[in-house]
Symmetry: C2
Subunit: 320 residues, 2 copies
């Protein structure tokens, strides 16, 4: 009789050791998420979406100005999201132009929340050495976009990269009078800007909107969320991608309700105007878009829906 | 002067060799998709969604019975899908119960289309040895669900797995009178069933609906798509997952338009009744669902939308 299967052997081994353990699956539960990396092409540009995790923001009446808390929670429930806190995901975009590796924002650097900071792991899973990144283009100076420039102990994570920041953003956040005038909650962000940039200020490249930072990658001023907030227009051949940055945070809330003014939009009315303008353009032209706080892989299209918009996620593809 | 950067060195090296080559990105484009694996928990059960790729079905007037071709193409356009052919993705579910590794359907085995067959790679990326799979539970006998049982050269891919098949499905497809009576297009599927199962028929376990194949994993008869088509109900603690199998193929078409009768539903009216019943249940109870032909990671919720339903994809999470 040679019908001793692997499973019987395994069960036998367990019994020999413990006398009573039930048979276990040969493969133990992984207990952790798989690498979260997604690639797609925009013409000749290869885009890699790299997931950095999620931050849970408590929902209270201050969260969205002038919006009814119950209405906000209904929008979250409609999207099957927990209602007591907003799951805000982070996805960073790496663009390979064939000549340059360009990173658009850097993730949280693991310095925002225990549930975020997987960018580095996912970059490694994508086969990219941080030393190979040629250029970092920052959209704006909120911590979840700039903290990944440096490790917790202040070392540069991408030692060979030119770091490009919006001139208007630089002017706003480095102005000491602005810091003194800021509400307490925002002061933290001012101090954080100083921590990240103080010792590398002279090496930064400050850019204006409308600049082509690499062939096919253009910066577009899109203020409101912050004064120098910037989005990116990628174009190659007949294909295009609009990188919305933070003009529209979680689409289940702010695409569907573009007039809502979240507390983190520094100039609420200007942010609404910018949001409506970009979403209108994206939906009218059926443009491919990506949003920093859209659910991973954070890419898809925008359609009009009532008085707002809806995000239609990209269909995950086997090919790039 | 020691300010020779890596980039300048690289450009210099290029010039030295070729005299005129532009500088290249240090990391060449990957040119291929990243591993497509997503994990989530249903109570104590760990579910791994494994992507197998996509099949493009040409769209013609025969594709959906009684539906207007232009209306079908509008639904595809609304979902930002190409209109001349339907991208049908495949995602297989692996369930780790803590005691058993259970695979629900097997993917295409790379035997359907050049654009499908990534299941094996993704299983490897998930760290699972095919030898570790304890049980395969088949939903129905269409090639994209059973071909992954075997390699092209007829070898068992999961040599240690018990293979469980629906009794009603077995009865239908192994009946020679049914094969003779079948339209030409369907005869291929009958022959394929014989190729896959002929030499392993005695080793198969045939199951009825309502059977618990492992603690927390129950089979539910859901005929129409095929006579013995089966869905799965996973339950652990207070959490549940409905595995829709093929009761609803691509949600952009068949959740939104549940009354459409695709050619591949063998009994169109029965399939519509089953589809409506399950989608109604899923939306009323706000159940988590997964569908074999939903876009990867193929998991989310169902909401009512007009006379049909809409799929709301799960928010990709950093944790399992």
């Amino acid at each position: 009789m040679t019908d001793v299967t692997r499973r019987k052997l395994f069960a036998g081994a367990s019994l020999a050791v413990t006398g009573a353990l039930p048979a276990q699956a040969a493969a133990p539960p992984a207990g952790r998420q798989a690498p979260s990396v997604y690639r797609y092409k925009v013409g000749d540009l290869e885009v890699t979406a790299l997931y950095d995790g999620v931050w849970y923001r408590p929902i209270d009446e201050k969260f969205i100005r002038h919006a009814d808390c119950a209405e906000v929670q209904k929008a979250m429930s409609d999207a099957f999201m927990p209602q007591e806190r907003l799951a805000t995901p982070f996805t960073t975009i790496l663009v390979n132009t064939g000549k340059k590796l360009i990173l658009l924002d850097t993730g949280t650097g693991g310095q925002i929340a225990a549930t975020a900071g997987s960018f580095g792991e996912n970059l490694a899973a994508a086969g990219i050495d941080p030393k190979a990144v040629d250029t970092i283009v920052i959209s704006h100076f909120h911590p979840d976009h700039i903290n990944g420039i440096k490790s917790k102990d202040n070392a540069l994570i991408f030692p060979n990269a030119e770091i490009m920041v919006p001139q208007a953003e630089w002017a706003f956040w480095t102005d000491d009078a602005n810091m003194r005038a800021a509400p307490e909650g925002l002061k933290i962000a001012f101090h954080n800007v100083r921590r990240i940039f103080a010792d590398i200020a002279k090496d930064l490249t400050r850019y204006e909107g409308g600049r082509e930072v690499a062939p096919g990658v253009e910066t577009v001023a899109a203020g409101g969320h912050t004064p120098g907030h910037t989005v990116f227009a990628l174009q190659s051949g007949k294909e295009a991608l609009m990188v919305l940055s933070d003009t529209t945070q979680h689409p289940a809330l702010f695409a569907r309700h573009p007039d809502w003014q979240p507390q983190f939009d520094i100039d609420g009315p200007a942010a609404v105007a910018t949001r409506r303008k970009l979403l209108d353009r994206a939906s009218a032209d059926r443009m491919l878009v990506t949003g920093y706080h859209f659910p991973f892989p954070a890419c898809g299209h925008i359609v009009r829906h009532g008085n707002g918009y809806e995000h239609v996620p990209l269909l995950w593809n086997i090919a790039v």
